[in-house]
């Protein structure tokens, strides 16, 4: 959503998770992605359409709502398509707190440097500590590491305390399902089988609750 100017087109946020990088982090998933990877776990966030347009300062404040958060994770959608606004968001957040920044992108790092898809890419790369790059390839999903498939690479652009202990490439996966109001948000790169389980469980709970409500309604 590069046309959104200085606003970030946000698909979802999660404040305070341990499923997407070292320590307690806040995540922003942006809306819109130029890639259409087969088997992508977030197909709803691929279309480049307005979702929730948020000013960088406002988004930074939202992500820092939990005082224990020590890092930001940028994902999507494609963060590099909104690099300028996200770089501004990170700058605003870092003005408040010392934070590590982890970013997922479907672009390879070499391409980002050679032919950036957004004028803000260089600025965003300058503030990212760990970049996980490359498109998702379902067949290369080995069920391990904080990356969707084996072809994706982990670039440690800057090191920070605690990051050395974190095995991005080969750690057992973990994920969180956060229930907020009527929606369920799966956070993390899911362990094998979880994505199907998540969908099926959500469908089952939804059906049961709807049935209960209808019965209660006397219909």
């Amino acid at each position: 959503m590069s046309g959104a100017g200085s606003l970030v087109n946000v698909a979802a946020t999660r404040v305070g998770t341990r499923a997407l990088g070292p320590g307690l982090r806040s995540v922003v998933w942006v809306q819109g992605c130029p890639f259409t990877c087969r088997g992508c776990m977030s197909p709803d966030w691929i279309p480049d359409r307005p979702a929730r347009l948020v000013a960088p300062g406002e988004l930074a404040a939202e992500l820092l709502a939990d005082a224990r958060v020590t890092g930001l994770t940028l994902s999507g959608g494609e963060p590099m398509a909104q690099a300028a606004a996200l770089a501004e968001t990170v700058a605003r957040a870092r003005a408040e707190r010392d934070l590590s920044v982890l970013c997922f992108t479907g672009y390879r790092l070499e391409r980002l440097r050679r032919d950036p898809p957004d004028p803000g890419v260089a600025r965003l790369l300058a503030c990212v500590d760990v970049l996980v790059d490359g498109q998702y390839v379902a067949e290369l999903n080995d069920g391990r590491g904080l990356r969707g498939s084996r072809n994706q690479r982990v670039h440690r652009l800057n090191s920070w305390a605690g990051e050395e202990e974190y095995d991005f490439e080969d750690r057992p996966r973990s994920a969180e399902i956060a229930l907020e109001g009527p929606s369920a948000l799966l956070v993390g790169v899911p362990p094998p089988g979880l994505l199907d389980a998540f969908d099926a469980a959500v469908d089952a709970v939804r059906t049961r609750l709807s049935r209960n409500a209808m019965e209660g309604n006397g219909t």
Partner: protein, 464 residues
Amino acid sequence: MSGRKRIQVDESAWYRLLRSAEQLREVRRDLPKLVEDVRRQARVDVERGFADLRRRQQRSEESVQRLSEQTRTLEAETNQRLQQQAADLQRRLADGVGELRAETRAALDAQQRAMASALAAERRERIAQSTELTQRIDELTQDRALAEELSRAWLADADTMAALIAETLPHERYAPGELAAVLTRLAQARGNHELGRYDAALAVSQDGYHTLGELRVKVEQEDLARRSWQSAAVQAVALVELLIEENAERSVLGPDQREIPGVVLDVDYWSGGGLADFRRLAGAALRRARDEASSAQALQRICEEEAPMFEAQLSDAVQRAGLSQLASQVRVSLADEVAQVLAETAFYSLVDAEFADTDQRGAFFAKLRHENGSEIVLDIERAEPDSGGVVLRVVSLDHDTESEADRRSRAEAIQRALAEHGHQVHAPLAELPPEPEPLAVGEDRYDLAAHRRRGERSEGSTRP
């Protein structure tokens, strides 16, 4: 490749559930019974408070009889007015108990206005009398004998009034230092009288007497006002105490707004000890309300700020308890669904499930084992202590249990896949045995047997 959002509850169903929890906010008030209980308790308190007042009035009447003729009538009238005010207040407080706080406060305000009006009238009357007497002083001073007699009488009356104030009224609380200042001036008047300067003595002793009379009225009325606030504060907090007990257990409503038979919400348990905190706070507030040392301002604060705040917090605690119980049900429900699907589609089977320390308010864990021996744990807890939201973590524990053969097999599969996608593989792909890795959370968080042992040891927990 790091998130997916789904709507898990239809809006209509979700809001139906929320409304069920919202309805708990309405603190249950069995009014006739509550009012009768508060009324009975308050009458005891009011009667106790006014017993002191009646003893003081009796003492005041005895003092008036010792006054000279020139002040006796005036003070007898004042006594009568003060007694009437006190009797009115006592009746209003006793009658007004059933009307509870807002109405009681309105009655108190009216009482305050009546008192201020009576005081103003009395002041006007006294000033008029003083002016008349002052005009006669010139005539009086022509007659030394009469002046001496009048001066002695005013000094004696002032002594009687000063003694009444000093011995029966809490004057230092409402008018600190004022009695001492008048006594100093009266001592000067007495000195003048003994030196034969009756004219000077007469003017000061007369003025001193009237100042004492006003001081007496002021202290009496401040004391009455304080008693009003004390009674209102005691009633307000006593009502909160009764509301706490009335709401300790609530029935649970289903999405259809109907009570679920046999299901009781233990508000203290599900609000994390919220009611026990309120009992303690309300008990402390009631002790302060009954404390004779508490000021009128402090009592007013209890009545107007603390008691309504307690009621609002009680309402929050009841709702929090409802949401907490609802969240607990959703936790188990969702974990059950995820576990079932993992079993059906990914060949995991449920081996164990338990709440953290067997406490239903805390996290819920379900451990699943794959047929190859690897395990995952579903870890479900509330997002925030007071929110209805929950977080489900799926933690893979396969590092320690995965066999070398499994890893090699997976490495080969990946190698094939890479080749199929045109990636050049220069060397046989082999995975190194992974290093043991500490969990982000506590080491024994997923040792469910340990949770059970801790739960058994926890004597204090009472689960519904």
